[in-house]
């Protein structure tokens, strides 16, 4: 039963990772860039909500103001920092977003200090309410809410991409921006829109992160890594893959934690387990690609025999 509980908690945690990762996946899918400040934007979102809850506003009301603001941040980010580097390959966006990450982390540290914060107090009983499934499995209402929001967001993105003119423009620009321009699509506007959506979703993820646990100014890089692992496990650029990747990551971390505690009396296995499963998936995928490139399993086995 302990194990079943770890799987359930892992799946729910995976919903959070998927929410965190969907913006990263979207920006990679459309603009082919990986935003190294992604995790720091999540933490920035959490702090913005915190500032408002400190003034007595409820966390969910604060979110209604923070999400449009962060969408504007994403739009500005694309127009000022990212757009200039897009044509010059992968190098410049990596350098600028890494610089941005350092700036955001340290400005947050300057403003809020090193103390850990939480949005938990701002959401009332939701912070600790849970449903009892069996005597050993409790499901936190907040975790279910986050999972539900993640699924709804992915579904929404999927519908926008598949069914709307905007989605068509996004897909066309992702495929080939120059050709998209030829048929009258403003690729600059499309890019800025994608960045706005990506940053708003990551801010939403950051707010949930702040509700379910504590956060601090330098937490961004670890969130970026979780998001990246979820995206890569699920397959870059695939939205539903991101949810699957998040779940695999969450379950691995929880199982690793349990294995470490139960068999090795060590409670520090949560993070390494997730990283190791990520690296194993990566290695497995590269082996498959290599075998395929050499003409399939039969050829490779025939060569070595």
């Amino acid at each position: 039963m302990i194990w079943a509980n770890q799987v359930v908690q892992g799946v729910l945690l995976g919903g959070y990772y998927a929410l965190l990762a969907s913006g990263l996946s979207l920006m990679f899918g459309v603009m082919r860039i990986i935003n190294l400040a992604h995790g720091d934007l999540a933490v920035l979102g959490a702090f913005l909500v915190l500032v408002m809850t400190d003034h007595g506003v409820s966390a969910f009301v604060a979110l209604a103001a923070v999400l449009p603001a962060m969408a504007a941040v994403g739009w500005l980010l694309q127009r000022t920092l990212l757009e200039r580097g897009l044509r010059s390959g992968a190098l410049v966006p990596l350098l600028t977003t890494f610089g941005l990450a350092i700036v955001i982390q340290n400005l947050l540290f300057e403003k809020f200090g090193a103390n850990v914060r939480s949005l938990g107090p701002g959401i009332g009983t939701l912070a600790y309410d849970s449903w009892t499934i069996t005597t050993q499995i409790y499901v936190a209402k907040l975790a279910v809410l986050i999972f539900g929001v993640a699924v709804a967001l992915l579904l929404g993105l999927q519908l926008v991409l598949a069914r709307t003119p905007l989605g068509r423009a996004l897909r066309a620009t992702a495929e080939d921006p120059d050709t998209a321009e030829l048929v009258g699509i403003n690729s600059r506007a499309v890019y800025a829109f994608a960045a706005a959506i990506a940053v708003a979703t990551v801010a939403l993820a950051g707010a949930f992160y702040g509700m379910r646990t504590t956060f601090a100014p330098y937490d961004g890089p670890s969130q970026l890594i979780f998001a990246f692992e979820a995206v890569v496990i699920g397959g870059l650029g695939s939205l539903w893959g991101t949810l699957l990747g998040g779940i695999v990551l969450g379950v691995s971390q929880n199982m690793g934690q349990q294995i470490g505690q139960q068999f090795f009396n060590n409670s520090e296995w949560f993070l390494p387990a997730g990283h190791i499963v990520f690296l194993a998936v990566l290695a497995g995928r590269l082996v498959v690609a290599e075998v395929a490139a050499r003409g399939g399993v039969r050829t490779v086995l025939g060569q070595s025999a």
């Binding site: 990679f28 860039i33 990986i34 190294l36 920092l81 200039r84 580097g85 010059s88 390959g89 992968a90 190098l91 410049v92 966006p93 990596l94 350098l95 600028t96 890494f98 610089g99 941005l100 990450a101 350092i102 700036v103 982390q105 340290n106 400005l107 540290f109 300057e110 890089p221 670890s222 970026l224 890594i225 990246f228 692992e229 890569v232 870059l236 060590n266 520090e268 993070l271 390494p272 990283h275 190791i276 990520f278 690296l279 990566l282 290695a283 590269l286 690609a289």
Partner: protein, 343 residues
């Protein structure tokens, strides 16, 4: 005179003169501990560690197109292996060299799968590698877990001996590593690496062995960052996994290589000097200093992507330590004027 009216040259008068200057400067640097104060010796030791780090990151990003956010893995591993070896009874100074080589050995299996990743995937993939290495190191309670431990053996040397040995070892390592990079860049490997950086598919299509070239630079950079880590350990004595495996080191490397001039040989040295001065002047400003570093990196990436040295090179056609070739157009009458450059 060639038929086409152009000639290809590597050495120009200015680069010959500057090479002579560099040689005499290196000889002079060897006498610093004898001639200058203990404080100056310490500061220069720090500067040389920065030069190593900047040159290694530049070799990766500027020449092989590999933006790694995880070089702190090798920096920390070098120090970790040095501590482990010293605990096992190996002499202090040999452990510093062996630690760097072991960090390089770890990079070989890492390279097998990381180098197949592209661009941003490689960047964060390396970050994950650094995280994994850090988590595994703090599981090792023989080096004190998160608290860390000290390189106690080095207390067997008097403070002044230690300072001088550290200085000479750091200077020697920097010269050796930069020499290796210089030699590599001037060899076939250098040309193939830049071809890979500019267009991987095109390079592969004309027969460049992409993985082999990248692998060589990757392992060299790991040894270099490992060496920087062991040398940092020798001067700071305490090994705290948190600070040795901090992503801050990558931020410093990126800043130095970018500001100095990515993809130029001299750039990282300039970048290291700039960083050293900035840290000396503003290091006590804490958070604002780091904000400034990040903001400067953004500005350079967007507005001056060739960095300080790259811009000077482009504007004045200077090549002090030539790693590339350039074309000189022969003007009728025998005189030559600087033409287009090929690097």
């Amino acid at each position: 005179m060639s038929e086409s009216g152009v000639t290809v040259e590597r050495w120009s008068a200015s680069s010959l003169a500057s090479s002579g200057g560099v040689a005499s400067l290196l000889v002079a640097l060897a006498f610093v501990p004898v001639a200058l104060s203990a404080n100056a010796t310490d500061k220069l030791t720090t500067l040389f560690v920065y030069v190593i780090l900047a040159a290694m990151w530049n070799a990766l990003a500027g020449y092989a197109g590999l933006v790694s956010v995880g070089q702190q893995a090798f920096f920390g591993l070098g120090a970790y292996f040095a501590i482990k070896l010293a605990n096992a009874g190996v002499g202090v100074y040999p452990t510093l060299v062996l630690g760097a080589l072991l960090a390089g050995a770890v990079s070989i299996p890492v390279s097998w799968f990381m180098l197949r990743l592209r661009g941003g995937e490689f960047a964060i993939g390396m970050w994950v590698v650094a995280e994994v290495v850090f988590r595994l190191v703090i599981l090792d309670h023989s080096v004190g877990g998160l608290t860390g431990t000290s390189l106690i053996g080095i207390n067997g040397y008097s403070p002044s001996d230690r300072r001088n040995y550290n200085y000479w070892l750091t200077l020697g390592t920097a010269i050796l590593l930069l020499g290796l990079v210089y030699w590599l860049l001037r060899s076939r490997v250098g040309a193939s690496l830049q071809a890979i950086r500019d267009d991987e598919e095109a390079a592969a299509s004309v027969g460049v062995r992409v993985l082999a070239g990248k692998g060589l630079i990757f392992v060299l950079a790991a040894v270099g960052c490992g060496a920087a880590g062991t040398l940092w350990l020798a001067t700071s004595i305490t090994f705290q996994p948190n600070s040795f495996f901090s992503v801050q080191w990558t931020a410093y490397m990126l800043f130095m290589a970018l500001v100095g001039g990515l993809g130029t040989f001299e750039g990282p040295i300039i970048g290291a000097i700039v960083f050293f001065v900035v840290q000396d002047q503003f290091g006590d400003k804490g958070v604002w200093y780091l904000v400034g570093l990040g903001a400067t990196a953004i500005l350079f990436a967007l507005l001056l992507p060739r960095g300080i040295w790259g811009t000077i090179e482009d504007r004045f056609g200077l090549r002090l330590l030539p790693v590339g070739y350039r074309l000189r157009r022969l003007v009728p009458g025998g005189g030559a004027r600087p033409g287009e450059q090929l690097t």
